[in-house]
Symmetry: C2
Subunit: 469 residues, 2 copies
């Protein structure tokens, strides 16, 4: 934000106007509520908005944006508040636009295998609703129990099943979007193919609320596979577990999930989440591999192939989980890992992604950089996509170093990621906290194209200012 | 193009400069060559360029664009020349930029299941090259034997396997692009996930050469399924064949192709392509359904399920092709249909796409509109995606009506498509010939966003002017 385009503070007159267009009962200025909405799940960052607005329909969002645009008031859209990049933080104050009242699953169209829903629907509730009808919506980030699908769209979310099913990009067909001017558009069509000009749907996905506000979402759904099996392979070394990942695909199979977990992550979930697991002394890392489908013989044959691959990489033991309880236990271990680490240490989370064969170099590089800077790390994530979440643990680092020197270490980490052909976020987004690292991977030309696109949609820069670039 | 920003004609001095930057041996002004490049496969449209340029590398493309940008010379990129929307027609003259010398498959990375290649590689040659290594690149438009993968990127291409594998959007990871300024960028990263700002890769896909020139392409590859079976179901009525399509998915299966063919299309391939097929008198339409995978029992079980569905929709006969020859014969029938119709009548092709349960309404609507306007039609296409190609046949229509009244009929057709939740192109693009219909589906607000994005990339509007909007 340049000094020459200051934002307007919300005075009493403007507040009355906001109340007039969205309904006074949907506008909140109490300190306690401002504080409820001044943070997401990103580290310990807090920025109070001037007002929290919870509109009830598209017309209200439209009127609100029009008013804010005319008055140069910044608007920060917010989904479930589970973001890890600070994209929902109202760093310039202004309006915090919570989409929590957009909670309707408008339709599940069994003829077309499509659903239309509002952005405030919790991802897992949507998944369950379509599962009841025998369908699958496979985009399930770890936060699925509390994140909103609108936030998933804004961040181009992934999750463990991307490796087989693709990211949210492959499931969003069409979006109703309110532009900063208050104009309402549909970005595309409710079709599986689209070659009708620039793909505004794809442009909105991952734009982190900087171009407009999504108010309706049309998704693709697919038939739900009936069966699944989960394998857990134990490894003596991180590097070998990581090296096995790309070999699994070379064996000609496509798992529905392929997760890496470092020993330390498993230790933390055992300690803090009361999960029972027999953790052997010499084991350094795990791969959790899921196959789904409709034929158990096929799934077991795929498991057998993977087993042969794992043996070549020093895997000492393979557990096969085929009961619902066994599978759920393993998934719970993986899913609670982030929470467990975060609740019990000072940490920063980085969301690296590289071509998957580069994972061994990435994990070795992380440890090497950590040893030089004095931080520890717990790594886990969607290894099948080359997507590794790195929880950086303060450990013995001084407060001074944590505050000042760590940034250089993180910069080295992202430089490594970029050198390996990767990027600085696979699924968490850039938001506020990764912004300063964008230039490691992207040229000023790229960033200027993004800035130019931003200005086409939002010339007054009211939409989620201070994010991405 | 407004009158206030005329393009510069290429005079002798400019021609010398072009020769200086790309090599004189790569610049052509002979009338015969201009005529070779004055058309694509779109109807009978012809526009001569002023010069044909065939650069050999990215640096030459960069220098050429910089020169053209500085001098306001329009540049029309061209792939294999197989386009059906006129996107490769140099309607303002200027430079025809043929990418035919970008023919290198730079690498097929077996560790990461990725390939890097140049845009002038013929799609089928690339498919074959990866197939030899046991991998699948599944995006195979009917023109795969002559189209370029760069053209496929420019049009967001699909083909029959989209129904299981998705469009080219799901396989393009990263693009090297020369901007009109001559600047060279990579749009993203070589990763399966990407949440690092606006997705410029996705924006380039389907932009039809209006934003820049793609000079390198990084694709995702997947393990190649070992087995396939093809079924051909015969129907007494178009409507019932179309109605069966969505029911197939409701049965919980995902075919690797699901094609609709109208009787008349089959008649034409029998007559003109010398294909042997026992076409029964009462049959009006066919569904061709393919399953692929690695287990024949599973494929046959899926076929059995589909069989049960087809019976409910008046399917009178199902052929099961499982030998390579039988499968190839059926696919050849489907693939040569467009060619056969086009070679033997005055026609126009429209590329409609709707939510697939709307196919019966679409096909009935096409015939009804045709009966009012006096044109006939042959319909076929990727019914599993709701994507129907409509070959409009002049038949008894007068030259006068064909020239003047038909447009109104096509407009009605696209209005129907839009009313059914569809769009005016599923995979052929907008180019020149669908441009006037964009407003049926997209508001002026949408179009202005597209125009704004165009201006960010290409303020002098040199890149493929006159297309999309």
């Amino acid at each position: 934000m340049s000094a020459s385009t200051p934002y307007t503070k919300i005075n009493q007159e403007l507040l009355l106007q906001i109340k007039a267009v969205v309904g006074a009962e949907n506008v909140f200025t109490e300190q306690a509520i401002l504080e409820d909405y001044n943070h997401d799940e990103t580290e310990d960052l807090r920025y109070n908005p001037e007002v929290v607005v919870k509109p009830v329909d598209t017309a209200a969002v439209s009127a609100l944006l029009r008013l804010c645009n005319e008055n140069h008031v910044p608007v920060t859209p917010r989904g479930g508040g589970t973001g890890l990049s600070g994209a929902a933080l109202p760093v310039f104050g202004g309006v915090l636009l919570s989409m929590e009242r957009f909670k309707s699953i408008i339709s599940i169209d069994m003829d077309n295998l499509q659903a239309t829903l509002e952005p405030g629907v919790i991802t897992e509730e949507f998944m369950n609703a379509v599962a009841e009808k025998g369908l699958l919506y496979p985009v399930d980030p770890s936060s699925k129990g509390s994140c909103f699908i609108g936030g998933n769209v804004a961040h181009g979310s992934g999750g463990p099943r991307v490796v087989k099913y693709g990211t949210i990009r492959e499931y969003i067909l069409n979006l109703e979007v309110v532009l900063p001017t208050g104009e309402i558009i549909w970005t595309g069509a409710n079709t599986l193919k689209y070659a009708s000009g620039y793909n505004l749907t794809q442009l909105m996905i991952g734009s982190e609320g900087t171009l407009g506000v999504v108010t309706k979402i049309v998704t693709k759904l697919i038939p739900r596979p009936q069966l699944s099996v989960v394998m857990l392979g134990s490894f003596l070394e991180n590097e070998q577990a990581c090296a096995a990942v790309s070999a699994i695909f070379r064996a000609g199979v496509i798992p529905s999930a392929l997760e890496f977990m470092e020993r330390r992550g498993v230790e933390w979930v055992i300690r803090f989440d009361n999960i029972k697991f027999d953790l052997k002394d010499d084991i350094q890392a795990f791969l959790m591999i899921e196959f789904d489908g409709n034929d158990m013989d096929v799934l077991l044959r795929d498991c057998e192939r993977v087993n042969e691959v794992l043996e070549q990489f020093g895997c000492t033991e393979v557990l096969l989980a085929d009961t619902a309880q066994q599978k759920e236990d393993l998934w719970r271990m993986r899913r609670t890992m982030a929470e467990s680490v975060k609740s019990n240490s000072v940490y920063k989370e980085e969301d690296t992604v590289v071509p998957r064969a580069a994972l061994p170099q990435l994990i070795n590089g992380i440890k090497e950089i950590g040893s030089r800077y004095g931080f520890e790390s717990v790594c886990y994530g969607h290894a099948g996509d080359g997507n590794l979440h790195i929880n950086i643990i303060k450990a013995g680092m001084s407060d001074e170093d944590w505050k000042n020197k760590l940034k250089d270490g993180i910069r080295e980490l992202f430089q490594l990621t970029a050198d390996l052909g990767g990027t600085i976020s696979g699924e968490h987004g850039i938001g506020l906290v990764q912004k300063e690292f964008m230039s490691i991977k992207y040229s000023e030309i790229n960033l200027n194209l993004m800035r130019g696109i931003k200005m086409v949609f939002d010339p007054n820069r009211i939409m989620n200012p201070g994010k991405i670039f």
